[in-house]
């Protein structure tokens, strides 16, 4: 897994606009009912997820980056190329921006078959593109058998894969995805997610991905931006941002952390996969996976409990020695969040305030984290 190490506060100084390897977004835009006021410096590689509830402004921000919306005041620069600069009255129209945009609904052209849909952007962006290029990208997305079909005859998942392939064939410098899975049911989502994860691994260009599903963010993001009511609540590497106790994300019932791990073995007797992370070993009930494969683990704070010693017998297999890094309130007055670190890996435990008091938890203290459930995100 790639983890961007861009410093959270870095990059907003004057010189960053010219940077060759970063995305600078300063956008101010007022609507009748809400305003967007955002200042972000994002890594020029990897996947940045713009996360927020509906009405947080995440889609509007994405549309401003694409030029589909013209923000009143904005400076938008992608790896050294300026697409909008209100100070110089510069606004590059959408069709001259080298973007790939995947909309919430696939929005394929109904009058063109799949092949022609794919060729539409490619011919315009890359005059040397040919049928082999189309076939290569179509194969990557598993739609090569659909090329002669009409969009009407495709399933929702197939249509969205065609839309992704169509965007990729324009050889964009920036890929923008606006909740590409939200119009699909759970089964179709599972059908597309592996393709998105492959893109994440193979793509050379940065991607901005809008979603309100934290699970998608946990699976795909390198960098996470939290938006609320048109403002940036936080922006930082995924792992570190999820573990921050001061953000609404952690205080939420679904609050979780993501941990990077590697597959080190499979125990056929108990049907458990063994994984190594910086704080120790974790067992996960999972089909056998290739040894050495890097994976992401997602652990909900409410599935982590705390014990003062590691040798009391328990049904919970996954136990690590940790240090307490912080204690913070949650939205629920009976509960609190305990920040932990095992090795380099941050964990969050959601326990009752009563337990915290009885255990006498204090920052710096060594405790045992007991993890009841681990979700493996490939």
């Amino acid at each position: 897994m790639m983890v961007q190490t861009l410093d959270q506060d870095a990059g907003l100084d004057a010189g960053s606009g010219q940077s060759e390897d970063s995305i600078v977004l300063r956008v101010q835009h007022a609507f009748a009912s809400f305003s967007l006021d955002v200042e972000l410096a994002l890594p020029g590689r990897g996947v940045t997820v713009l996360f927020g509830h509906s009405g947080s402004g995440k889609t509007t921000l994405l549309r401003c980056v694409a030029g589909l919306e013209r923000a009143t005041q904005a400076h938008i620069a992608i790896n050294g190329t300026v697409w909008q600069d209100s100070a110089q009255n510069r606004f590059v129209p959408t069709w001259q921006r080298e973007i790939g945009y995947v909309f919430q609904e696939a929005s394929l052209f109904p009058h063109l078959n799949v092949q022609r849909n794919l060729a539409f952007g490619m011919r315009r962006a890359n005059p040397h593109g040919n049928a082999d290029d189309i076939l290569a990208v179509a194969t990557k997305l598993g739609i090569e058998h659909l090329l002669k079909r009409s969009p009407d005859g495709l399933s929702g998942g197939e249509r969205q894969r065609v839309a992704i392939a169509r965007a990729l064939l324009t050889r964009p410098r920036l890929l923008l995805m606006d909740e590409p899975l939200s119009a699909l049911d759970a089964a179709r989502k599972q059908e597309i997610l592996p393709y998105l994860e492959r893109l994440h691994d193979e793509l050379e260009i940065p991607m901005l991905y809008v979603t309100h599903q934290i699970e998608e963010a946990a699976r795909l993001a390198d960098h996470l931006v939290l938006l609320g009511q048109g403002r940036v609540q936080a922006s930082g590497p995924l792992v570190a941002t999820l573990a921050r106790l001061d953000l609404p994300l952690a205080r939420d019932h679904e609050g979780s952390v993501v941990i990077a791990a590697n597959v080190i073995g499979y125990d056929p007797e108990w049907n458990l996969t063994r994984l190594q992370f910086s704080g120790g070993e974790i067992f996960v009930a999972e089909r056998p996976l290739p040894i050495g494969k890097p994976v992401r683990l997602r652990i909900l704070a409410r599935d982590v409990s705390i014990a003062l010693s590691g040798n009391n017998p328990s049904s919970i297999q996954n136990r690590f020695i940790c240090r307490v890094t912080g204690i913070a309130p949650t939205d629920d007055p009976a509960q609190c969040l305990v920040g932990l670190v095992a090795g380099d890996a941050a964990l969050t435990a959601r326990i009752t305030r009563l337990s915290a008091s009885q255990l006498g938890l204090a920052i710096g203290q060594e405790v045992w984290a007991q993890v009841k459930a681990v979700a493996l995100l490939e």
Partner: protein
Amino acid sequence: MMPDSQDWSAIWLTLKLASTVTVLLLIVGTPIAWWLAHTRSRLRGVISALVSMPLVLPPTVLGFYLLLLMGPHGPVGYLTELAGLGRLPFTFAGLVLASTFYSLPFVVQPVQNAIEAIGRRPLEVAATLRASPWDSFCTVVLPLARPGFLTAAILGFAHTVGEFGVVLMIGGNIPGQTRVVSVQIFDHVEALEYVQAHWLAGGMVVFAFLVLLALYTLNPQARRA
């Protein structure tokens, strides 16, 4: 009695007029329809109302004012004389101009409906795929709005063929120049030449039926229009 040469001349003139007007209507009507479909301007209502006026007004009213406008004392007449084009009333060109105004709503409305039905999304998609606005219009809007354009062309053509009042006000009754079928029928009836009137009138009935039949069967999506 079979149709004579004057009848054939009227038929030919009518077809020439309707074809010219249809082409002109598509050229003029499409930008208006596009603007009406996409604008948020407050003028939208005003322009919509102006375009639709011929639906409501008696053709004689429209013809009367166009005649005044194109006449020697009207602003359009002044301009055409200044440009050395002469006066438009009682000419084929005058007829074309008047008919274009008269049939405008029949072209603008179906095209506007079709463009509105497409919505903005396909245009946004095209833009993200590097298509310039003109490129998108040709490769996305035109094919998607084809039923609307077909309806518009058929209605514009048919409505021009069927007009009478405006022609009489602007063009009068000059054989080979402005005497179209509807006027020719009027003349036959005035002269009590009912058989010849029947040939032309019956032909018009059949023509109208065939046009509408084509509209509703070949182009089922256009039924709204």
